[in-house]
Structure formats: structure tokens, C-alpha cells
Symmetry: D2
Subunit: 390 residues, 4 copies
């Protein structure tokens, strides 16, 4: 059954396995006239790229190739296919996995569904987080289109294991987290996160984390009654990320413990506009964006691949055994997961912005093309390392 | 833009406003040969019906009419349209709402999106929880189809405001909560919930709550890589419910605080079958159902309509004012929300069970029709009041 | 499997059987602010209504009820459900059909697919042309929306059996055919058609016919590469009509016999605009509308229900037998089929006009609402009987 | 807007321009366990390959690369991406086209829709028939899956310009036409077609043609009421092919001239089965396949690119001018169009066979995998040159 496509008007279809020739994506619905370069895509990819500190040692250049839909540096209105070749692949590391499904991994469910003989076990196959390259590549296009309404998306790691952000952060802080090796939005937090990661690496263990995504300047009225509410489509997109086990927006789960008189947000007039005083609803009310910042959070479970021995079953004998997952893995998937969560939010918002006529479906005017380009440059520049960060 | 349809093979399209002539649903994709009566639908509707203790006083009989797709008591394979007329409607209660958008409600976002002049403000219009009648009606069909794999769905209120379930519950306890006026699964909890509700009613306030849904005998392998993961489609369906602000399954948000060695679940052999020891992943791993019980939770915010005065803005003058929401409202939407959450899980599972060939798409055999009927009767009987409950 | 929905942005879902309680339709994606009355819908329904001369004697008032999506005479942006009750139903006429599938009818294929025991044989069940009421009802909304670009759709019967239109006709002639009892666009043709019909009625036989639909003022650029070409979506919509066996546009099948130098159309400049000289491509080139009138034709087979005895098989004995189809049937489905073909073209064009941003997806401005209303009135008035026609 | 995807369960998404780096396709919904090799795909591609006699001189090896979804020679259940690189590209031939839109081509409509500056004019860009490589590649998978029900699809050219097939042909004759350079199913016809082609080449002209596709062993009951009728989905798929201007099945347009007593087909019993005597309805009745051979025809207009000078307009000056289309073009697109029409029928049937549970959606059993492989070999062998054909 199909299931690798997302979006109605801005539509993304991904393909590819961890150790196959390439991963890729077809992006349908991009209006003609958008400036689009390999560098735009690579900019976003750089924030989920492996091979850096504190993340998997797999060395992928992650260089995107645009196969279609772009001519003379601009989109033509036809499907944009992008592929990223898999180069640093060591399938031999996975031989043991073949018979010993890894706890916390998709190995055994895939075998149960598709059959042992049809399972591409190398590097997790289709279930590998490598697949998210396709999503992030597509999100560069989504983010550019959202520049039309000056909408900017940024995410950071709000907590890692037991360590939680305790101070307030600005949107600029969050943007800066892109250059933090642990996706922290404050220098002090960064140090604590790094400490945790180092310790986990020594122990052959990993940590879960909670990411937060904030959206500035969301157009008003995104989302459709009743099933395609914005919160519903965001929840689906976020939960489609491997390792995510929970989603909330605004007050989130805390609302479940509150009284109506506490949780309801006052409607006020500010600068002549109808606004909400505390943004308790995280920018989405009645399933529609209300113009306040969108604020959502999601929980990533700890990386399932750990060096510590874990109990599993040998599929050849049905005997219990242990596995110690070697290979090159993130000590906390949440770190690179932030970029993926950002990507999913971008894809959903671009789709809904088209559905609500904020982004044209056929072609951009020259003015729109240029406006996007200017704002994109400003955005790229505004993503810079924190003061004092490496 | 369309947005009132859900599902690929089992497809539900709802329509209707709170104070319009009727609410209704078209269910496409039901195979021919299913026994289906008005009573089957009314059975499920009875658990979200207003007019009972502790819920809104609106007196709706909620009698479903089947307009198509059923002949001689059996489905014909064509779309099944069901309508429920709105009878106990007092639109005059909403005159004030017209100019004073209610905090926490969809009023203002709908006005912002569709225009003040096009807004059906009566009873919340399309944004009213009344719309969920359509979902619950459709879920009766979904639940019957799921009987083919003996899959049963049950929900209860795990916490209401500050009061939380503290003891273990069996699946039977959860089934019994259907007859609890506060959807509690234990007698002791029921009393505490009732206390809270009474107090809120006195204060003109309301409470949030957290519902939990459990699924027995889920077929293995439901869900599609990579966007239509089962957890993703469940998250969307649950977040599409009015007032829901968060979703999690299995360890959920707790996983974000844990180590890999804690959160990974051991794979074991039990009765000759590959199983997971603790079901930490709530029945879904790698986005696919793994045969363990599906366990998910969602947070309902407190009812937004409260008698206590709240600050808002008068749209005619842009002056700040207050509103005290009269009308007949639930003191905690979470109570009736449980039935709706159950319904959404049923709809998603029926769809995915069809996608994975567990439910035929064209017609049921005679044996299948009868098997469903037997199991449905058993299910109806197994939903009975708790010992000592009213 | 679902299959009763059409359209991406303007989305129509129909339901209902010939002898069930009602037929109906849910129209999703209509922007808020459109004036919409029962009379608008009834206007279009009147041209496919039974109970008139030369068509089936079934006496249906075909009165539409709007159940949702309209408030105070204007659309609200939410799904519009419309039902038409079935009132003049004589199911007893169909007892014989139960065991003797009618040649040319869907009876036997439905039995083969859904099972004999699940087959609603009364009046053809879901396969009845009665289902097309839903389409025509929805098309009134589509046609109103298309007024934004002043796009008008009109159809006529180009040939009935062996009698073919031999003179040129104007768009006004075609509009007038709506009031012709045999859907002829010329008085002389009307007489010949009536002669044929009378003769067929005497003989207990029926005739096939070829309808032509013409569209004025189609917006430029409708259609999407590569599968959702405008010609492709029109073909699907037209072939979804019962009894249609062929579709062509522009030169159509004649192009298959021609040379490139004959079939290619010259590009010219006319009134400062790029145009095509002869509109050989029927308004669609490269799958996209090119601004010329859309011209398409479709072939309706003769009504399958005829009084003349035909050979079939008795399903109880598998013996060959004959059937003489009594009941109230059109002597030529093509006559009322023209209204249905018009409806399908309207639905497809409204959908594509939204896809290409000609019709807003969220709400109409006040000016747009009024413009539509003015043009709609003009359109209604321009549909008037031919000079000298009854 | 998206528009490059087709199918619900067997879903094909194509991308790529004529002179871009590659054309390609993502095929979603293929069950795990299907044997699939590059050779399988190349087999089908060979029948639409350019560079042979009587077709375009563009020399493309058309070698498919499988990027995903296949492991160890078998499908894994995940999306299958296939690309074919564009190698023999001479964009300079198209410089004139840039300012002089070619009559009969998509040039001007694309410019009108997407903007002159965004138009990839090289080789027709996305509108080029080169895009159909993707469809034929995907169809190899569809055809293999259809082997489960022993369903075989074959097409031939029924007429070219004025020359029409006048004798009866067997299904074997039609299969043999694959190796005919003019896609004729009879030796005598082949000679006449060749004569026409040679003459057109001399004159710098081209011919239209009519293709016929026949399907053996179609499963019963494919198609869904009411919009996704099999005839409707076939019509859409066929009309989505560049240059196709008409579609009909069974009696087709002839039915529009007939009486009911002539056009209705007798139901008979043959070998204990319910059958139709003359297959007037071309295997589809009530929109559902009825077990008889599917027979459909479509009209291809003549190749629009001809050497003969044609009138057009220079876009720089809006002056009328002429163009003589150089480049390497088919003298009759209908010849290679037959392979594309076959492909589209295969894609639609595979999709509907999945929808009706004839093909599993998740995985094939070992027996099914092997059965397909055996039948596929038999099919490949049964496609062989006519006696005496070159």
C-alpha cells in the first residue's frame, strides 16, 4: 500500500533505503518561478548531516542532485525529483542483525509484515533514519515558499534525558541552536547536554529528548475542519518521524490537569488587532492557526541502537540471546531529530498555506520570486552560532 | 478546501453543524454483506449521548437514519449515508456569542478564516462537538468490521484534573467504564471524579482530563512506511478531535527522559510466539502494529464554555468586555471525549486493516458475516456497568 | 473500496440507491460567501427531471434539501450536504429482475461482484441513473462558482440514432436546447428526434445518441501535467456516467485518420491575443485549456431497458429465458444524459479552476459573491425555449 | 498542483523532462516478494524505445536503474524508484521553438500557464512524449502483478491514417504486433502502414492512428461505483497520454447510432458460466469488468512535429511567421503510442485488481511469486515476431 506521500497541494513522496543506491524525494505542487539551487537544499541538509560530533560517524556528504523540475535555476511547475546517493555504507556490520532483531527497532515488525526473505536488513532498510534525508531536502523548498508570508520555523532540544531548559529563550536563541552540536539554545544547556552525551557514549547507552518547534508569522486560518485541522496534520507529520512517541502543542498535556478558567486564554486587542494574551493554545485554536506563534513539542525515545547488551531472540533457533549493537549511531536521535521535526512542520505549513491561497499553486510573480530570495538570504544569515559556541 | 474526510479504504466523510437540520456521515468502502442495523449504530452513540448526568443538558435522542448502502439489513458495498437530526436546538442562547467570541473556542478563528458574515455561530456551528456524532456513528461500522480479527477497542478516563487513576486496571474494567457517568474504570476513581465535577459545576468552571484507549488483538503489521505509520495516522485522528491538545502512545513523553537501556523492550518467546516483554512501545514499533495491545493516551483541555466570566473583545466596538457562557455544556469534555477517541481509533484501525488485507474490500463471505455478528453480540454484552456502579 | 468521490479541491461524494430513502451528495471545498438557495439547485435539476414528455414516467419532484454548509442563504465554507428523497418508487416492478438479469444492465456484474444476497435490485439500486441526481445537484454549485470567470457550460444532443445535426449552431441555440423535450438545438432537428422517439416507443425499443458539450470562457491553463490533464479528468468524469461508451474532444477520432499538416492548428494573433485559428484541439492542448471553447462529445448507448423481449438467463435454474423490461424508462437515456454530462464538465472545471487559483478556496469577497449572483441570473435567463418550441 | 500521480493502491508518480538529467517514476504499493529485475523493465521499454525504424532517430538506450524497493532481486514492499537517464539530447535543435510555439504542441499552453521565463522548452520539456518512459517502466511491474490472475494485455494499431485493419485478428496476432516496426497485427497491414509512413516521411508530414488494446482474463468485478468505474479510470489513463483525442470501449461511438434491441447483449450460459454472447460492452458493464475480454480503442492525432512549414506567431514580435520543425520525430506517434496505451491499461488494472483483493497489498506468498515468474516467462516468449515479419 502507498504510504510514502504526504500533503495535498504541496506533495512529498519519498523513497530509498539506508544501504540502497540512493534516497530521494519527488516534490509535487511547487509553483513555477521559485529560485532553487542545490545549495538551498544542502543548507537544510547540513543540520541533519551525520559525520559530525555527537552524532553517527557515518560519513555522508549528502550532496543532493536535482533530476527534474528546475530549469535555469528556477522551478518550472513540474515535479522536482531530488536524490542523495548513499556512499558510506558498511552493510557487513548488520550481518548479526539479520537473525537477531534489535530491541526498540523496526526489524521484527518489518519481518512480521513483509516476510523474512523480503527484508532489507542492511542499516535498517526503509525504517532507517536515513530516509529522513528526503524529508529535509523537500523542506528546503517548503521553507522557501513560506518566505512569502515571512513564516520562519525553528526548533531546539528542550530537554535531553533528565536535563531540561530552565530559562526563557528568544526566537533568535532557537535559530542559533542549529549550529549547536547538541541542538541546545543556550550555552549553559549545551554544556550539560554534552556532559550527558559523553557519559552515555562511555556507557554504551543513549538518551531520549524532547524537541520544541516554534513558528513565527504563521498565516491566519491554516487548517481545515474537521479532520484536516492544522493540529491534526502536524501531529501526523511529527509522529511519522522515527522514534517520536508523543506530540503536544500549546499547553499540551498540562491542559489535561487544568481548570477551564485557567486554560482559557483571554482575547485582547493589541496594536489594533485581535490577539490572544498568553498563547496557551500554541497558535492553533479550533484546529485553525490564529496568528500567534505555533509552539509544539515532541518526545523522541532514546536511540535504540546501543552497545550495552540487550536481550532478544535468535530467529533461527527461537532461543533467547543478547545483542550488542555495533555500528555508527547517534547517542541521542533527538539531536538530529530536531531538523527533521522542523522539516515536517515546514512541509505541513507549506501545504496548508497553499490550501488557503497564501502561496499560489501555478506560478510566482517576479516580485514574489525576488521577495522569497531576499527573505531566504536573511533567514540563512540569521541562522548563526551562539555567542561562544563552537 | 476539503478536509472532512478520513481514511483511504474505509473512508468517512462527515457534514453538519450544531444547529443545522442534521449532522451526518457518508461511510465509503464497507464491504457488502455486513449485517448493519440502526441499533448497532445507536449502541455506540449511546456512550457519547448528551442529556445524561454530568454532561450537557441538551436533550438529543440521537436517532440515526440510514439513507443508503444497506438493503435487507445488510450492506450492499455502496456508500452508507447516516444522518442524525438536530432536534433540541436553542439558538437564542448564542446571540451574545455572535459579537463576543468565547475564549478557548473556535469562534474567532472561524471568523478570521471564513468571514464574520459567513459564520454560523449557533452552537459553535461546524466546530461544535456535536459534529462528533458523525464519527461515533461511523465507528460502529468500523468496530463491527474489526470483529473479523476479534479486535476490540476500549477507553477510559485515566485522570480528571488533578485526580489520577492509581491502580492497575484490566481490559474488562475499561470496558465497564462505558457505563460510568464519568467514564471511570474503577468505582473509587468514579467517586473522586464525581466529586470534582460537582465542585466545578458549583464554581461555574470545568476540568481537563486524560483519556487512555486500549486495543486488544490488533492484527500484526498495520501501518505503512513512512508517512502513514500507524502511530502517525492515530495521532492525526486523535488530534482531529476538538479539545485534544496532546497524544502519546506506549512510553510516550516519558521516553524523552529515559536511557536506551531502559526504554528498549526485550524481545522474548512466549507460547511459541515472538513477543515484547513490557509493551513499552504500546503495540506499535517502527510505525507498524506488532501484535501487542495498542495503548495510547490523549489530553483533553477543560471545556471552554464556563459560567465564570472571562475576558474577551466585543467585535462591534473592539472594546474589551467579559462573557459568561450560558448554554448547556459538559463540565469536562473529556468524559464524552472518550467515546470519540475510541471512535477515531476504530476508524483508523478499520482502514489500516483493509489496507493490509485483514478485512476484504468487496464482500464478506457468509461465514465472515456470521462471525462478526456473533462477536459483536459478545462485545455488546461485555460492555456492562461496574459492580456497584449506577 | 471508496469510489463515489470526485475532485481534489471541489470534491463531490454521492450516495443513494434508486429505491432507498434518498439520494444525496456531499460537496466539500466550496468557499464561504457563495449565495446558495434550493432554487439554484432545483434549476439545474429541472433539466434532468423525470416525469416529463419523452422521458421516464417516474414522477419525482426532485426537491433538494440542504442539510449543512449553508447559513442565512450563504455558504459557510463547510461541507454542503444535499439530499433528494425518493418518493415515487414502485419496487414490485422489479421482482422479475431479481432472477433474470437485464441485458445491457449492471444487474449481473453487481451480482458477480457483491454477491446475489447483497444486491439491491430495486430500480437498479446504486447503478440506477437516479444516482445522477446527486451529480446535477452538485453541479449547480460548480456552475455558480465558475461564474467568477464567466465560464458557461451548455450541452445538446448532436445526434439521436441515425439522425444527426447537419447545420451550424450558436452557443445560444445550445443553451435553448435545455427546454427542448429531446434536447435538440434546432427546431427542425427536434421534430426529427421526436419522430424517432415516438417510433421507438411504439416498437418497445430505444435509441442511442451523441451529446456535445461546449464551454465558453474557460480560464487558461486548467489541467495538470501529466495524469491530471484536463482532457483526462474530463474523460474520466464523462465515462463515469452510466451508458456512456465513448469520449472525444476537438477533432476526436477524426484526428486518427488525418495528416499532421491537416490536424495541426495555426497559431494566430487576434485582437492582440494569441489564439488558435480553428480550435481543432477543442480548447485543450498539451492537456491544458488554451482559452478556446472547450468542445467535447460523448456517446450514450441506447436505454438498456426495453419492452421488446430479450434473451437472458434465469439465475435460479441457469436456463435461458427472455425478459421484457416493464417499468418506466427513457426511450433514449441520451436526452436526460446531456444534463448529466454538463454537470460532470462543471464539476471538473470548478475543481481545476480552484487548482489553478481562479476560484478562491477559503472565501469569496463581497464583490465576488455579488458578481456571481448577477451572472447567475443572467445565465438563468439566457436559458430559454427556442423560438417556436413547446 | 500535483498531477503526476495515478492510482490508489498501485500508485505511480512520474517525474522528468525531455532534456533534463533523467526521467523516472516512483511506484508505490507493490507487495513484497515480487521478483523484479532491470531486464523485466527493459523488456517493456524495448517496445516504446526510440532509435528504431519508422520512429524518432533519438538514440536512447533507455536503461533503467532501480534506486529503491528491491533487495536481492525481490521487492521489499517499499516504494520502487526507477530512473532512466537522458543521454542523446540535442537541445540546440530547439532554439527556434523558444520563440515560435509549434502548432499542435503544448508549447504555447505551457507558456500561458507557467510563464515564458519558467518554460523548459528543450525537447518539449515535461510535455514531451519522453515522459512516457516512466509509465512503461512502471507498467512492467503492473503486468507482472497481473500475472496472478493470468491477465495479459496486448495492443496493436488498428488503423493508420486512412488504412484500416479489415480482417479478424487473434490475440496472438496482437501480441506479435509488438515486434512489428509499425505495430501492425497482420503482415499485409504492416506493408500498407509502411507505405504510408514512407510517403509521409518524404512529404515531411505525419499520420494519425487508432490503437486497440485487448485484455485477456480480466478478473471479474474490477471498478467501483460510481466515479471510479473501470471504464472511467481507463478513459482517464488513456486520455492522459499525449496526442490521444478520443477513447471508446466495446461498441463505443457506434452505440450512439444503435437501437437498444441491437446494442443489448444476450446473457448466456457457456461451459456452466454466465457469459455475454457478443461482448458488445467490451468487457465492462455497469462500470465493472464482467469477465469478457476488455476491448478499447483510442485515437492518436498525427505527430505535431512536421517538416512542412506551418503558420505560427513569433512571441518576440507577435508577428505571424512559419516554422518547419526539425529534430528527430516519429512520423506517427500512434506507433509507439500503442506501448504507452498498453502501459496505462496495465497500471489501471493492477490498481483495480488490488482494490478488489485479487492482488495482495502487503506480500506475495512464495507460491504466488513463483507463479508470476513462470507466467511472465511464458508471456515474454509469447511476444514474438509475426511469421515473415522483419
Amino acid at each position: 500500500m502507498p504510504g510514502s506521500s504526504l500533503g495535498e497541494l504541496f506533495r512529498v513522496t519519498t523513497f530509498g533505503e539506508s544501504h540502497g543506491p540512493a534516497v530521494g524525494v519527488v516534490v509535487e505542487g511547487v509553483p513555477a518561478g521559485l529560485y532553487l539551487s542545490k545549495e538551498d537544499i544542502q543548507f537544510e541538509l547540513s543540520f541533519r548531516r551525520p559525520g559530525r560530533q555527537y552524532v553517527t560517524g557515518r560519513r555522508e556528504k549528502d550532496e543532493p542532485e536535482i533530476l527534474s523540475g528546475v530549469y535555469n535555476g528556477r522551478t518550472t511547475g513540474t515535479p522536482i525529483a531530488i536524490i542523495v546517493k548513499n556512499t558510506d555504507v558498511i552493510s557487513s556490520l548488520y550481518e548479526e542483525v539479520r537473525h537477531k532483531p534489535r530491541p526498540g527497532h523496526a526489524d521484527l515488525p518489518y519481518i512480521m509484515k513483509y516476510g523474512y526473505e523480503n527484508w532489507d536488513y542492511r542499516g535498517g532498510g526503509r525504517a532507517s533514519a536515513r530516509e529522513t534525508v528526503s524529508r529535509v531536502a523537500a523542506s528546503a523548498i517548503a521553507k522557501k515558499l513560506l518566505m512569502l508570508s515571512d513564516t520562519i520555523i525553528a526548533g531546539h532540544l528542550k530537554s535531553l534525558g533528565p536535563v531540561e531548559l530552565s530559562e526563557g529563550v528568544t526566537f533568535e536563541d532557537i535559530l542559533c541552536s542549529k549550529y549547536s552540536p547538541v541542538r541546545a539554545s543556550k550555552k549553559s544547556l549545551e554544556e550539560k547536554f554534552e556532559e550527558l552525551i559523553k557519559q552515555a557514549t562511555v556507557e554504551g547507552d543513549s538518551w531520549g529528548g524532547i524537541a520544541e518547534i516554534v513558528v513565527k508569522n504563521t498565516p491566519i486560518g491554516l487548517g481545515e475542519p474537521v479532520f484536516d485541522k492544522l493540529k491534526a496534520d502536524l501531529a501526523k507529520a511529527i509522529l511519522s518521524i522515527p522514534a517520536v512517541m508523543g506530540f503536544e502543542y500549546g499547553l499540551g498535556f498540562r491542559a489535561g490537569k487544568m481548570k477551564g478558567s485557567e486554560a482559557n486564554d483571554e482575547i485582547i486587542v493589541k496594536d489594533g488587532k485581535l490577539r490572544w494574551k498568553n498563547n496557551y493554545s500554541g497558535g492553533i485554536l479550533g484546529g485553525l492557526s490564529n496568528g500567534e506563534d505555533i509552539v509544539l513539542r515532541c518526545a523522541f525515545k532514546p536511540t535504540s541502537s546501543i552497545r550495552k547488551p540487550q536481550k532478544t531472540v535468535d530467529l533461527r533457533t527461537y532461543e533467547e540471546t543478547t545483542i550488542s549493537v555495533i555500528g555508527r549511531h547517534d547517542p541521542a536521535v533527538a539531536i538530529r531529530g530536531v531538523a527533521v521535526a522542523e522539516a515536517m512542520v515546514a512541509i505541513v505549513l507549506a501545504d496548508h498555506a497553499m490550501r488557503a491561497n497564501y502561496i499560489p499553486t501555478v506560478k510566482l510573480s517576479e516580485d514574489q520570486s525576488r521577495l522569497i530570495e531576499e527573505r531566504w538570504k536573511r533567514y540563512v544569515e540569521s541562522c548563526r552560532p551562539m555567542q561562544g559556541s563552537q
